[in-house]
């Protein structure tokens, strides 16, 4: 029996959701975008993607100003910032088609476990995105580099995710997105954190780009020692990252277009930073395995201090 193609809901049409959703729509999949502030603009002008692989636009995407209006879909892509998850959680279950799943395209660790509590027996799959993109205007995405996704199912729901994993992978590949499957969600999450923990926090605290960190001896030492801490934590938690990953990531980042990580952009825009997902949750998981991450904890506390300063500036302005 031939199955219907998968339908996708993009919960959060920003730099990341907007990019992947537009690719899926462009490849012919039924794709439904939830937007807030950009809704009116996209309704009039559509979605626009500037990509290193070629620009394209969608004149009339299927868009919704909130979750109430969204039809049930096969794959709910959680692509907003994790700091906003709380507003979406209560809707997830009712917006899943039978046999559907939530695909968590977010940073951090432990979020799939939290989502699972809201979706009954449905599958929850982690999606680790290696993407450099920015939203440069309403409904206007600029794709700078990379774009691959690693799919990693939540182990406690692996029976449900098994039939979906390959289908999602094929859909993404069909949409031009390099996609692989990793059966160890924890290891995959630590792997992503190994980049996020040094580069997101340091780019905020030191007001610098990834390239400036890599061009400085002190900057590279900061990055490397934080990465070593993440590696040790992944081992302590029983979900080790692959060997030689540190050197590989340093090499990749050196070649990368100079880039402001998402946390730096959030900081510049006076928006909430993903401190909880990228720092506090990994610290808590390591701590639960009797492991301390001194440098990561220090960077987290520095970010918390800066965020408090932001809120002070906001309230006094």
């Amino acid at each position: 029996m031939k199955q219907n193609p998968l339908s996708f809901a993009i919960l959060g049409t920003g730099a990341l959701g907007g990019y992947y959703g537009a690719r899926l729509h462009h490849a012919g999949f039924s794709t439904h975008f939830v937007l807030h502030s950009d809704f009116a603009h996209v309704q009039s002008h559509g979605l626009k993607v500037e990509s290193i692989h070629g620009d394209f636009s969608i004149a009339h995407p299927q868009i919704y100003p909130n979750m109430d209006a969204l039809p049930p879909c096969d794959v709910l892509c959680l692509s907003l910032k994790s700091t906003a998850n709380v507003q979406f959680l209560p809707y997830l279950h009712s917006k899943l088609k039978p046999g559907g799943c939530v695909l968590v395209l977010q940073n951090g660790i432990g979020i799939e476990e939290e989502i699972a509590e809201y979706v009954g027996d449905a599958a929850v799959i982690g999606g680790l995105c290696f993407l450099c993109s920015n939203k440069i205007g309403p409904g206007h995405i600029q794709h700078l580099d990379y774009g691959s996704i690693i799919l990693a199912p939540l182990a406690t729901h692996s029976a449900q995710s098994e039939p979906l994993l390959q289908r999602i992978r094929e859909a993404l590949v069909h949409a031009g997105i390099d996609t692989t499957i990793n059966s160890n969600l924890g290891a995959a999450r630590w792997q992503k954190l190994m980049w996020n923990i040094p580069f997101n926090g340091l780019s905020v605290v030191l007001r610098c780009t990834t390239l400036e960190l890599m061009q400085s001896e002190a900057g590279t030492r900061l990055v490397r020692t934080l990465m070593e801490e993440v590696e040790a934590a992944s081992i302590a938690c029983g979900t080790p990252v692959p060997p030689n990953l540190i050197d590989k990531l340093l090499h990749t980042t050196r070649k990368m277009t100079p880039y402001l990580p998402s946390m730096r952009l959030d900081f510049e825009r006076n928006q909430a930073m993903e401190i909880d997902a990228i720092y506090s949750r990994p610290l808590a998981r390591a701590s639960a395995h009797g492991h301390s991450m001194q440098r990561t904890a220090m960077l987290r506390d520095q970010l918390v201090m800066l965020e408090q300063g932001l809120s002070t500036r906001k309230s006094s302005s």
Copy 2:
């Protein structure tokens, strides 16, 4: 036999040297000030001190535009930034009266040992200043809080410093400066570093005051964990700081007038920061005793990155 009163040379008439030198002069001691950029202004307008203990000024201090012109003195007070020591070192020996000494009123650790190599058999005494003061204009010092000094002689030259220590203490006390003697220079240096390492670096990296750090839970945790690292290093080096010093310093800083540490002011003014004295030297000393200071090393590398950014901004402007 009654001895002549001590004569003092103030090598660097800034926030610290200007304050202590003015107090010594005011108390009747022969005090000779070396100044660079402020020389002409002070020649015309004198030295002015605004102090919480009462304002005073010196209309015609004995001032010198460089070391060549300075007469030999009993006590050479090294009160410039340690980053500028290299210009003064070759002059020290010839500007010492027989039986005189160098009093190192600087931050860091290991500087007395370095000075000793330039002054033959003369005594070298560390002077640890607990002072909140700023230079707010040419020859214009603002004394905000505290002001005590701990004198601690370099052990290898203790025979030479013995006859001087009490006389210097008495002179300083006579000038209204609360002064005590600590026979363990290493322990005294670590004690001062326990404040300098967290507050100087964090106030630069996080662009905040001492009070903002103490009013934030994350900020206080940053300060305390760095202090714990300094305490452990002082023990590893065989020169332990006094017990309960951490709680005492946190308490004192909470009560202190909100204050920008000297490194923060240097950073704001695009001037060299004392990264070597306050971070790299303590790190090297701890490392020589097989002890690592992860958080201190991380803060040092962050400061180095920021200083590189400063020099980039300077060279591009």
